[in-house]
């Protein structure tokens, strides 16, 4: 279990994490979502005792990380796949980690096999692809067989097979009763693995909820209507309280009415409809809507 309470971290005048509170429970995968620069990595580093918060606390199993005895037995973390000396072999890297963390050296061979690097264990990490380095980082996180695991953007650089592998890995770790926290800036990817979501923007909590509840609440659906009489139809739809936007030369995007209601309305008034299509807002859309105000670095619109 990870408990983050009123966590605040400032760098000079920039507040990276601002009064953040959430709990990560065992037995499920918790997705930690936010745009780039929203404070996810800072929060993870604070949980691992690498950064000293300006206020608040982050506890692992009720204790500050720095007070844990041999912490690799409690928490495994993948922070940055590049965090390996390029001249050191995968095996030497993990062996040094195991020795310092008081973990049986036999675990090194086991985790290397587990992540699929058994054949290249003797190779220097500098020769690894980004995907292989991610796997090496994950091997390091699993070394101490820890009940709590943190993964910072683990699918970066993985090929499709690797992405499937890590989804399966995270689900099985949670199924074994472990606490699994996975950060990502990709909502759709996270929704495929996570059971629970913690969404942050500009260091503040935006949502802390189950994935399904999140979609029910925020997944507004739109209806696309293609009609040669769209102006007349738009007026009628607005009179019924719907929000209507024009798209292209023939299409309306309607929010607030169902496909059935729109179809019936058009039929009663004798207006031709060439296409009527419900479209569930994508997870990415929901996420963008939620975090739009909190995006740190926003590109300028191109005027279209």
């Amino acid at each position: 279990m990870i408990e983050v309470t009123e966590l605040t971290k400032r760098y000079g005048r920039v507040t990276a994490v601002d009064g953040l509170t959430f709990t990560v429970r065992p037995g499920r995968v918790t997705g930690f979502l936010g745009p780039n620069g929203s404070g996810k990595s800072t929060t993870l580093r604070a949980i691992l005792g690498l950064e000293t918060p300006d206020a608040g606390a982050a506890l692992v199993d009720g204790r500050p990380y720095r007070t844990l005895h041999h912490p690799l037995h409690h928490v495994g973390a993948l922070l940055d796949a590049g965090a390996v000396h390029p001249g050191r072999s995968a095996r030497a890297h993990l062996t040094a980690l195991a020795v310092a963390g008081r973990i049986d050296r036999r675990r090194v061979g086991e985790v290397l096999e587990q992540v699929g690097l058994g054949q290249v264990a003797h190779k220097r990490a500098g020769e690894f692809s980004l995907g292989m380095r991610q796997r090496l980082g994950i091997a390091g996180a699993l070394l101490g067989d820890p009940p709590v695991v943190l993964f910072d953007e683990p699918v970066n650089g993985l090929d499709p097979e690797g992405i499937l592998w890590i989804r399966h890995l995270m689900k099985s770790l949670a199924a074994e009763g472990r606490t699994v926290l996975v950060s990502s800036h990709l909502m759709s990817e996270t929704a495929l693995t996570a059971d629970h979501l913690v969404v942050i923007g500009r260091g503040r909590l935006i949502a802390d909820t189950g994935v399904e509840a999140f979609l029910r609440e925020h997944g507004t659906s739109q209806v696309h209507v293609r009609s040669p009489a769209r102006s007349a139809l738009a007026g009628m739809l607005r009179a019924r309280g719907a929000t209507v936007e024009y798209e292209g030369s023939k299409t309306l995007v309607v929010t607030g009415l169902t496909v059935d209601e729109i179809g019936d309305l058009a039929a009663r008034n004798g207006l031709p409809v060439h296409e009527l299509m419900a479209r569930q807002a994508s997870l990415e859309d929901v996420f963008m809507d939620l975090t739009r105000d909190s995006v740190e670095y926003q590109g300028t619109h191109d005027g279209n």
């Binding site: 690498l50 912490p71 390029p86 001249g87 072999s89």
Partner: protein, 256 residues
């Protein structure tokens, strides 16, 4: 401290090529310079002016290459810390061992032990080699001559001190280039600055420069404007002690 940290740092040090390259480069530098100095001296000895003979230092002159070797060994110490910052590995290291001071002390202990062994072997062998060339009345001395054993020992000790200094600088600057720049400044530039001070200040302060203190420590002839060899090596050690204390102070306070 717990030997697991020492073992872990030793594994890290011996599993990268730069360690072996640094040691090999240091050995080649020291031996090449010594061979050159010793053969030239042995050839010229009979024809040398008596005053040149008496000012010739048979220990420190052949070991002149150590002036460059100290930087090579120093880089090894710098890299033991700075390479972890440049790759981000330091976060994994500190997450594994939140007692950061112990991590730094383990790194210092391991790099220093390596410098002691490698420095002892390289400088000891080079001493014997060069004295062999200059033996039989060509300027050579033996370990049992006054001050000789002390000078060779202090030469090794000086390499060890520079390694402590360099490793600490790696932790203070958290950057390979930064640490090497500071090391270079302390070893070469600061003594130059002291050398250009007004006469009265220069006279008092030059002896605190690393270069001059090291020269005094490894010389068998008394030097002008220096402390005794033992005080001089303590002056050198003070640089390392201050740097290490500052590194230990900072490492617990900064975010990783």
């Amino acid at each position: 401290m717990g030997t697991e940290l020492l073992t872990a740092e030793w594994i890290k040090l011996r599993s990268v090529r730069s360690t072996y390259l640094s040691l090999a480069a240091a050995a080649v530098l020291v031996v090449t310079v010594a061979l050159s100095v010793a053969t030239t001296t042995a050839d010229d000895w009979a024809a040398m002016d008596p005053r040149d003979r008496s000012s010739f230092d048979p220990v420190s002159a052949p070991l002149f290459g150590a002036i460059f070797a100290q930087l090579v060994i120093g880089v090894l110490g710098v890299l033991a810390v700075s390479s972890e910052y440049s790759t981000g590995l330091i976060r994994t290291t500190f997450a594994t061992t939140p007692q950061r001071r112990k991590v730094l002390l383990a790194k210092v202990a391991v790099t220093t032990a390596l410098a002691l062994v490698a420095g002892g072997v390289i400088l000891g062998a080079t001493f014997l080699l060069s004295q062999g060339i200059m033996a039989n009345g060509h300027g050579g001395v033996s370990l049992s001559d006054p001050g000789v054993f002390r000078a060779v020992t202090y030469a090794v000790l000086y390499l060890v001190i520079v390694t402590v200094l360099a490793t600490s600088l790696g932790a203070i600057t958290r950057s390979t280039a930064g640490a090497i720049a500071v090391l270079f400044t302390l070893v070469f530039l600061l003594p130059q600055v002291l050398d250009h001070l007004p006469q009265n200040l220069r006279h008092d302060l030059m002896r605190f420069g690393l270069q001059r203190a090291a020269a005094s420590a490894v010389s068998i002839h008394p030097q002008v404007d220096t402390f005794s060899p033992t005080v001089s090596i303590l002056v050198c050690a003070t640089y390392a002690a201050v740097a290490l204390a500052l590194a230990l102070f900072l490492i617990g306070r900064r975010d990783a």
